[in-house]
Symmetry: C2
């Protein structure tokens, strides 16, 4: 099944009664609509501030928002100034700008397989080669990592793995692109410092690191304002700023101002609330899997983020399973959508972010039933060469 | 003087007492802050609509906004459906997406000299060759035009010139990129239909034209929301949508919803008000030039837009003039900033959008005085080879 066919299939899931574990998006019920309403109201309630909010602004970003982000980065061990922050239209634009700055046709991009293909697609425009592992002789320009609660696997790199990533980057004189999209959503255990923080510890200064940290408010406060950021050495931030300037001038002025107000007033509360809700949905999904799964089905146990990653028994095909699943009103994303090398047909990604706990239990039961039926189907004679 | 030096110089103009004719931006006093305040308030006042406004949305854009724009395009003679419209983060992103889709290294881009260099800079990332005129044998992929109230010259292409542009595009099998940034701001005379409309008249259908119309709300309602659009054949819009999707996913959901509300409630009134204000500033600037200009200074008489374009007498250098002008609290953009071929040193662009009428008269008087002083300076002996 081609990815366009899977996309068509997934369009069917937006119907009543469907239990969707497909979309890797935040639950809109968690958005603090009142806080955003108050922020836009306050900004536009004053004629002078309102006129500024509606005018062009500097590409680098709204200064108070850059400062707020710099302080938050510092609290995570990445000591930096507002000048080290570029505000982008979501972290997807951050990835695109980085690709545009660094990649020439044929350059190597090292990334896990599976990984977030949206990142690799943004790099694809610049025609690099994607590598799942790098030999000593490979030319590697960028290393793309989602160290915390990876999309799609849900897994987290420990401190040793982060150090190793830096060693690989050193060996290849490569830049690390650290995608921190899910980093705020930890449900258990201790935070591991960003790769950028490990990098800074040895480099001494933010301006000497080789890691570009890409952050976003999309999974915590709201994706719709399209506000993300890049934190990195000043010299790189300046060059990325020029690229953004010719790309779309700047990120929305009014949205940056509103996001800053909401971040100041309610970031910590919002994150705490999202953690509570998503933690218990994760627990429900893990418990349902433990209860309903047939033998041979295995899955990850993420400490945060939005995803659980399943391996089907007996090389079962996840795309074919999706067709049958949709007929029974349950949906997921087949694993092949996360592999740039065409593998992963027996994997699938479940997102626990959008469904209530009863629906999660029901959906997992249906899904496991389908897998079980598939296992029990007698093998057609033709398939064993009889 | 290099363009980076000019940029540094122009940073000095943001000080009290400065009369700036530099920025090509709308007067923030004209923004309808109350209408935007009401729009965000209404959208976020309802919990369900508010949650939708804060969530991810389709790359193509907010359906009611696409419909509103399609109707407006139709009223200008470009008969089209919402599917022919892609919402972008300002028309700057529109240009970048078009460059990314069509341009390969070495491809020809035909553009006027002078022109809006921001457009050419967005194309530059894809390494084309810029041509000020095309020979029959030249390979031309894109033709970039600002047919209405051009930046920087203020001039408008008549119907015959638009037809000729289409003939040139046909001859080279090229796409026309029609930048309609200023088209709504006409102060006298009759509208000329967009090049896209002339194209459609002969092609029969929007899906058969070779013109991509780039529109924006930046010069009429607000630049800060970063909302522009591309209107063109469905097949091209689909491909541009995929490029935008990997570039930054989509344009801000909430801003598209708010812009739609403001467009419905007050687009026509806002445009009428902006026309009145800018028309009288243009008239004031033209009258001041007529009153104060020394012999040898010439300028355009734009029928709309934000700019008047000056040619200095005796090959005077506009960048050197800017340095002296800033010392006397008046600023403009030297003409070389609009030529990709390095010429234009004796030209300059004046914007009349940001200053009140007394300031315009005062600023033009100072500027003309400086030009006059420059003319009267005795020619140094060295310069005539003595």
């Amino acid at each position: 099944m081609r990815s366009s066919e899977i996309r068509e299939l997934l369009k069917l899931i937006d119907r009543p009664g469907m239990i969707s574990f497909a979309g890797g998006i935040p639950d809109p019920a968690l958005f603090n609509v009142a806080a955003f309403s108050a922020a836009y109201g306050r900004i536009l309630g004053d004629a002078a501030a309102g006129a500024r909010a509606l005018q062009y602004s500097a590409t680098e970003g709204h200064p108070p928002l850059r400062r707020w982000i710099a302080e938050r980065m510092a609290a995570q061990g990445v000591s930096c100034e507002p000048d080290n922050i570029l505000i982008t239209s979501g972290s997807q634009q951050a990835l695109d700008l980085i690709g545009k700055l660094f990649l020439d046709p044929g350059d190597g991009v090292l990334a896990a397989a599976p990984t977030y293909l949206g990142a690799l697609q943004s790099f694809s425009a610049y025609e690099p080669r994607f590598l799942a592992r790098a030999e000593a002789t490979d030319d590697v320009k960028l290393i793309y990592l989602v160290p915390d609660f990876d999309n799609p696997t849900g897994e987290t790199m420990d401190a040793a793995a982060r150090q190793r990533a830096l060693e690989i980057a050193d060996r290849h004189d490569a830049w690390i692109v650290e995608d921190g999209a899910y980093a705020a959503l930890r449900y258990e255990g201790e935070d591991v410092a960003p790769v950028a923080a490990f990098d800074q510890r040895r480099a001494g200064s933010i301006d000497e690191i080789r890691t570009l940290y890409c952050g976003t408010f999309s999974k915590t406060l709201s994706p719709a304002l399209r506000i993300g950021w890049i934190c990195g050495p000043r010299a790189v931030i300046s060059r990325l700023t020029l690229i953004q300037q010719v790309g779309d001038l700047h990120t929305s002025t009014i949205n940056q101002m509103a996001m800053h107000e909401v971040a100041v007033s309610s970031y910590d509360d919002q994150v705490a609330r999202a953690r509570d809700v998503y933690r218990s949905r994760r627990d429900t999904m893990l418990a349902a899997l433990a209860r309903h799964a047939p033998e041979g089905l295995s899955w990850t146990r993420p400490k945060g983020g939005l995803f659980i990653w399943l391996t089907l028994p007996a090389a079962m095909d996840a795309a074919a399973l999706l067709q049958r699943a949709i007929a029974r009103d349950v949906a997921f994303v087949p694993g092949a959508a996360f592999f740039f090398d065409g593998s992963g047909s027996d994997r699938l990604r479940l997102s626990f972010s959008l469904s209530g706990e009863a629906a999660i239990d029901e959906g997992i039961e249906r899904l496991c039933m389908l897998v079980r039926e598939e296992i029990d189907v007698p093998i057609p004679a033709a398939a064993i060469g009889a």
